[in-house]
């Protein structure tokens, strides 16, 4: 645990006093202190291309009254700097008066351990793994022309000081291991990417030569794409594989169910609470409480313990995801979804691990039922326009389906759909729910936060596939 005060002229007592004094006429707010150590080691083009370490320390001071948020942050933790921030907040809110809400729930549950993954593995043993990956893939096949592999790790310690002196802390480890391979055959080049990660030590993810599995998967995706044909263009049936393709759920409806967009009535979902927004059998939750997952948090960035929030139950819209501000303004409770990228950013309601639960059909049945369509197994990124509800995501591994059978692989294409209606087009839900491998980062308002997704195989009756073949 970081001690934010031992090298500063600011004592904890001073901080408490400034916080309570600044927030006395506000509805909410806190001082957020953060200390992050991170590293990244990258092997590329047969060389260790970069080896970097970063140490970032700072505070973000927030005061809220009514709907107005005043925020000030600095990387100088000192009496002077905190006072300056305090004046800044007071001047923004000077004409307003609120009543501080001291209520914040507490829990003893922890979803990951207090470890520093950076120090649990030596630089040399990290370099050794990266070199093994490079050799393994280059020896595997002479079509391998480029290998990039990396480790990224961090330990983020946070401390939240609320008015009245309440203190909440968390230490969050996070690692990621990634492999990207480019193949070239008959003048064609294709890449395949795969990665794993979460909130445990590097070695936990590298057990049983697991790095080989990651290499094999990246190689397999690239090989499939070397044989790919132009993708079709137009509306058709789409079968999504289990796991990572759940970024469809994340983009299509996840963002639209975040509290801020619904309070502001800019989400296509804002007036659909209690209504049917998905086919029967579709249940979607956002869960911050799964052990060691990338999207899990013991407490959110406002100090609220996270929970498993049911968003859609059997097709009916049940809950939005809330931080304290939006919850207060919408007369409900925080769902422990208040997150920020770091101390430089304000808190926003965000997703954690967004999951569609299993149904009882098989992937085989789904494919058999499709005359003409595509089977999408892996994706790159996605994006959504929450107001119009239109969302896209890019396939990185997909196949044609003809007369109930999987056909040739097709080139990466964008799929586009309409968030509020897409889940009504889900006609089969598989029994094979799977979590993604721990690689997702979600962007919103310029802030990236680690997230997870999960889903079983699903059949969507109608989606537009953005290929080039008419």
């Amino acid at each position: 645990m970081s001690n934010f005060f031992d090298k500063s002229d600011l004592s904890r007592k001073d901080a408490d006093k400034i916080v309570s004094d600044t927030l006395q006429n506000c509805d909410d707010g806190e001082l957020y202190l953060e200390d992050t150590k991170s590293e990244s080691i990258l092997l590329d083009d047969n060389k260790i291309k970069s080896s970097s370490y970063s140490s970032d320390l700072g505070f973000g001071f927030r005061a809220i009254t009514g709907e107005v948020v005043a925020y000030s942050h600095s990387n100088e933790i000192s009496k002077d700097s905190l006072k300056k921030s305090s004046e800044n907040l007071k001047s923004t809110l000077k004409s307003m008066k609120g009543t501080y809400n001291h209520d914040i729930s507490r829990s003893n549950k922890k979803f990951y351990e207090d470890i520093n993954p950076l120090e649990q593995k030596t630089l040399n043993s990290k370099l050794e793994v990266l070199n093994k990956v490079n050799e393994y893939l280059r020896k595997k096949d002479n079509s391998v022309k480029q290998v990039t592999t990396s480790f990224a790790g961090e330990q983020k310690s946070i401390e939240i000081i609320r008015s009245g002196g309440e203190v909440l802390t968390d230490v969050r480890p996070l690692i990621r291991f990634n492999v990207s391979v480019m193949l070239e055959k008959n003048g064609r080049k294709e890449t395949g990417v795969y990665g794993i990660g979460g909130r445990q030590s590097y070695d936990e993810y590298l057990k049983n030569d697991n790095w080989k599995t990651v290499c094999e998967e990246a190689f397999r995706i690239a090989s499939v794409n070397l044989e790919s044909k132009p993708a079709p263009a137009g509306e058709m049936k789409v079968v999504l594989g289990p796991g990572w393709p759940a970024i469809l759920i994340h983009e299509a409806i996840g963002h639209g169910l975040e509290g801020d967009f619904n309070r502001k009535k800019t989400s296509a979902f804002h007036d659909l609470m209690g209504q049917k927004v998905a086919s029967e059998g579709v249940t979607i939750v956002d869960d911050g409480t799964i052990d060691n997952r990338r999207g899990s948090l013991t407490i959110d960035d406002e100090g609220t313990p996270t929970e498993k929030t049911v968003l859609i139950e059997n097709g009916i819209l049940k809950n939005f995801m809330q931080d304290r501000l939006n919850a207060r303004l919408m007369n409900t409770k925080s769902t422990g979804s208040g997150r920020r990228e770091n101390y430089r950013h304000v808190v926003l309601p965000r997703m954690r691990n967004t999951m569609m639960m299993s149904g009882n059909q098989t992937q085989e049945e789904m494919i058999k039922s499709v005359d003409k369509g595509i089977f999408a197994v892996s994706f790159g990124g996605g994006q959504v326009d929450i107001t119009s509800g239109k969302f896209v995501f890019n396939c990185t591994e997909a196949y044609e389906i003809n007369n109930g059978k999987i056909g040739s692989p097709i080139k990466g294409a964008t799929l586009i759909g309409d968030g509020p209606s897409i889940l009504k087009e889900v006609s089969m839900v598989g029994n094979d729910m799977m979590l993604d491998p721990g690689i997702g980062t979600c962007g919103k308002a310029g802030q990236g936060v680690p997230v997870g997704v999960a889903q079983p195989s699903i059949l969507i009756d109608k989606m537009t596939v953005g290929g080039t073949k008419l």
């Binding site: 370490y53 140490s55 923004t92 509306e235 994006q383 896209v392 964008t414 586009i416 290929g467």
Partner: protein, 438 residues
């Protein structure tokens, strides 16, 4: 106030001296300080104020051909000391890479031209609030506008880049940006659009009225969109989307992608990759330019580059490391392009709309559908159907797809270039792409 050069220089030389003492054969350090103040409005009332004060330092140490780096936001001397020691230990343990090196001394910038990148005017929060009040009252005046969000940010920064070969330079810069996002609603749909302005000098930004009017108008015209059928059709890209083509092009000619062999433009120097009428220029020394720089992030002087001349690829964007790998000299593009633009075409915007009887006019794309290895392109799009030169109706939930290799050869540009951003394009037409809709 943003920290002065003297303070930043003293931190930089402290780092260089320490690295040398530890036994580093070379080192480079960047120290920067930035202060920004943002005010956000929503539906004609104050929503958020945000003050950001950030120091940052990044250091690279070399031991022969070994290199590693650290960065931190904590500039206390004892923290920097611990970090440099850690950095140097990592450097010792990192394998050699023959291409690692500080930039060639003769390529380093010698003179610091004044490009007017800093405006010391302080537009205090009260004034930002006045600007946003006017903006929002204009933006929300139409009945169909149901939500407005707007923002004003003032940023001042200063930095020093220094290395053990004696380079030590830096300069202040500023930016003033305002944006407005509006949501419009009718019985069939809800749509969002935006407008923004960002300049080095306060006096050059668009007026609050212009910003509000444009955002509102651009949003309302998107209401009640249709989906169209799938077909091959000519596509016209609005300027704000057309510049994205240059972004993809710049990514594909970065020396990193070329050296790794992961670009569809590898080995294409002196080949025709655009049609003969196309010229692409990267000009670092524009007065008050949003993307202007005097030297790149390694200290290498950057000159104007004609990247595409009459459709032919003339230069890659080269930094020191990849330059050594490719046997090319750095052209001062570590960190990418500066003020990048397509030169004007020959025909007017109106004539461009009339070149075909039917076009899709794209005003927004979503998704990350550019594959720079293969050149394949596929993104979601929103826009309008144009028939006989006239805007007929808004279109959404479509995708547009093609391959950059073909798309680049089928570009026709209008003559309406202006320099709003760091990447700029006239309105652009590309023929032969596929639209997927119904």
């Amino acid at each position: 106030m943003v920290k002065d050069q003297e303070y930043l220089r003293s931190k930089a030389s402290y780092c260089l001296d320490l690295a040398k003492k530890l036994g580093a054969t070379g080192s480079s350090v960047t120290v920067g300080h930035s202060i920004s103040e943002t005010v956000n409005f929503r539906n004609n009332t104050l929503d958020e104020s945000n003050r950001s004060d950030g120091l940052a330092i990044s250091i690279e140490t070399y031991l022969g051909k070994k290199r590693s780096s650290i960065s931190s936001s904590n500039l206390l001397d004892d923290n920097i000391k611990t970090l440099i020691e850690k950095c140097f230990v990592t450097t010792k343990n990192t394998p050699e890479d023959e291409f690692n090196s500080l930039p060639d001394k003769e390529l380093l910038a010698k003179e610091i031209k004044n490009l007017n990148l800093y405006d010391e005017t302080h537009f205090d929060n009260e004034k930002k609030i006045e600007y946003l009040k006017e903006l929002e009252s204009v933006a929300s005046s139409e009945e169909k506008i149901v939500n407005t969000e707007s923002s004003f940010t003032e940023n001042k920064s200063n930095f020093i880049l220094a290395n053990s070969d004696g380079f030590c330079n830096g300069y202040k810069s500023s930016s003033f940006s305002a944006s407005c996002v509006t949501v419009a609603k009718d019985e069939n749909s809800m749509e969002r659009d935006y407008e923004f302005t960002s300049k080095r000098h306060l006096s050059d930004i668009k007026s609050a009225k212009e910003l509000g009017e444009k955002a509102s108008e651009q949003t309302i015209r998107k209401l009640s969109p249709n989906k169209i059928g799938s077909e091959k059709i000519s596509i016209i890209f609005d300027k704000r989307i057309a510049k994205g083509m240059l972004g993809a092009f710049a990514g594909a000619i970065s020396s990193n992608a070329i050296a790794r062999g992961t670009s569809f433009l590898k080995d294409k120097i002196n080949e025709q990759i655009f049609s003969e009428t196309i010229n692409v220029i990267d000009k670092p020394d524009m007065n008050k330019g949003v993307g202007s720089q005097i030297f790149d992030s390694e200290g290498v002087k950057s000159d104007t580059l004609n990247l595409i001349q009459n459709g032919i690829l003339k230069n890659y964007l080269v930094d020191t490391y990849n330059g050594k790998k490719l046997n090319l000299k750095s052209n001062g593009r570590c960190g990418g392009t500066t003020n990048l633009y397509f030169d004007n075409g020959k025909i007017s915007f109106e004539d461009l709309l009339n070149t075909n009887s039917k076009h899709i006019y794209v005003t927004e794309t979503i998704g990350h559908g550019s594959n720079l290895v293969t050149g394949d392109y596929s993104v979601g799009a929103t826009g309008f159907l144009i028939e006989n030169g006239e805007f007929k109706f808004p279109v959404n939930e479509i995708t547009i797809a093609g391959n950059f290799k073909d798309m680049f050869k089928n570009i026709t540009l209008a003559n309406d270039l202006d320099f709003e951003y760091s990447v700029n394009s006239p309105t652009m037409m590309i023929e032969g792409m596929t639209v997927a809709g119904k």
